[in-house]
């Protein structure tokens, strides 16, 4: 894995433990599922939410998934720019620990973009993900893939970004779609690539559908990573079917598109896709006009819905 531009902010857990005495008054905010493991190694007092950090704090250590880290990033930027923020992702995928982007999910997705959102340090602590459910780990892999693939295809990508994204995808194509510590660094790298270019229609689907599915099917455990995994293969095939652009880029930058196709196909879940498309059909105009969809490498038109309806039926390239 090549070092990315935020590598100097990267710590391992030993680095954080040894730095604790220099961070002033520190507080810890963790996702419940990993709280006992984090508290076993880190001593700062626990707080309930990023927003409840006491006024005497110098440092907030936030350990959890992308949603919690994004909340802390936005809180720090809007309310307390001097607060030292250290992000400890509990799973790979979002890459938010290195990203200038934060997404808050309310009635719809609220996207923030600023370099001031980037945490001061992030901690790679792979053991936190070891006990995560296999399904979540698999979706997290799909999240990384969607960032890398959409950065590669982005109309805003430079040649350098495309080369780095192609190299990254060629490397992660050999990773298992499950626990592997290397996914953490791959996730950070993929996130930075998309932050310097754009995402596309996979994220258009995910951003519009996530709040809708969370409210209409709360037990189905819809989340960003699951939606990205679900729409990876359909959107890749849509892009390939409309223009030779992606194929040409793959040839130019040495991306093994057959391997990418194989991975995205193995991440595809027809049942989940059918369920998501039921909602997507009703909100197609919103999806097609979403800001992410508008930077898709292929223009998303009103009649593009037909492709995705057919993909749902055939389960293969239409």
């Amino acid at each position: 894995m090549q070092k990315h531009e935020q590598w100097e902010r990267r710590w391992e857990i030993a680095d954080l433990k040894s730095a604790l005495s220099t961070l002033g008054r520190s507080y810890l905010c963790t996702t419940p599922s990993i709280r006992s493991r984090v508290q076993a190694l880190l001593s700062p007092p626990e707080i309930e939410s990023p927003e409840s950090v006491p006024s005497d704090a110098d440092t907030l250590i936030v350990a959890g998934g992308g949603t919690l880290i994004d909340r802390a990033k936005v809180f720090r930027k809007n309310n307390w720019p001097a607060l030292n923020l250290i992000a400890v992702p509990s799973i790979w995928g979002s890459g938010t620990e290195v990203s200038p982007v934060a997404v808050l999910t309310r009635a719809k997705k609220d996207i923030h973009f600023s370099d001031d959102l980037i945490p001061d340090h992030y901690v790679v602590w792979p053991e936190l993900a070891e006990s995560a459910p296999a399904e979540l780990l698999r979706f997290a892999c799909g999240d990384v893939w969607s960032h890398a693939l959409e950065a590669f295809c982005s109309p805003l990508a430079t040649e350098t970004i495309r080369k780095q994204a192609a190299d990254l995808m060629n490397e992660i194509a050999s990773y298992p779609l499950g626990f592997d510590a290397r996914w953490f660094d791959a996730s950070a790298a993929a996130c930075l690539l998309q932050a310097r270019s754009s995402v596309g229609l996979i994220h258009g689907f995910a951003h519009v559908l996530e709040p809708l599915l969370l409210s209409s099917a709360p037990n189905a455990r819809w989340g960003h990573a699951k939606l990205c995994s679900t729409f990876l293969s359909p959107v890749l095939n849509f892009n390939l079917s409309r223009s030779p652009k992606v194929q040409t880029l793959a040839t130019t930058f040495g991306l093994d598109l057959d391997k990418v196709q194989a991975v995205t196909k193995s991440l595809f879940d027809g049942q989940a896709y059918t369920a998501a498309m039921t909602v997507a059909e009703q909100h197609w105009d919103t999806i097609a006009r979403d800001r992410c969809s508008r930077t898709n490498c292929i223009l998303v038109r009103r009649d593009s819905l037909k492709y995705f309806q057919q993909f749902r039926i055939s389960g293969a390239v239409a």
Binding site: P155, R242, S243, K245, R289, R294, T295, I298, L299, R302
Partner: protein, 82 residues
């Protein structure tokens, strides 16, 4: 379909314009939906429809429909008098 019609369809689709709102003399400043994201979408659509990829300078320098036609005609893509 002739190139004029293809361009008209593309811009109406991207910029969410009605028949009445579209004209070949349309300026970017007069279209609320012609924002920076629309510039990207138009570039993607031009590539898909006409096989020409705007350079970054061309993309940001487009101030209206006529500018798009001028660039495409320079690349040998012919438009009947609009």
């Amino acid at each position: 379909m002739e190139n004029r019609q293809k361009l008209r369809d593309l811009l109406m689709e991207v910029l969410l314009l009605t028949d009445e709102e579209f004209s070949f003399d349309l300026k970017r400043e007069r279209v609320e939906t012609w924002d920076s994201l629309a510039v990207v979408a138009i570039a993607a659509g031009i590539d898909e429809t006409f096989g020409y990829h705007f350079t970054p300078d061309e993309a940001v320098g487009i101030n209206g429909v006529r500018d798009i036609i001028t660039i495409l005609e320079r690349e040998g893509i012919r438009f009947a008098e609009a």
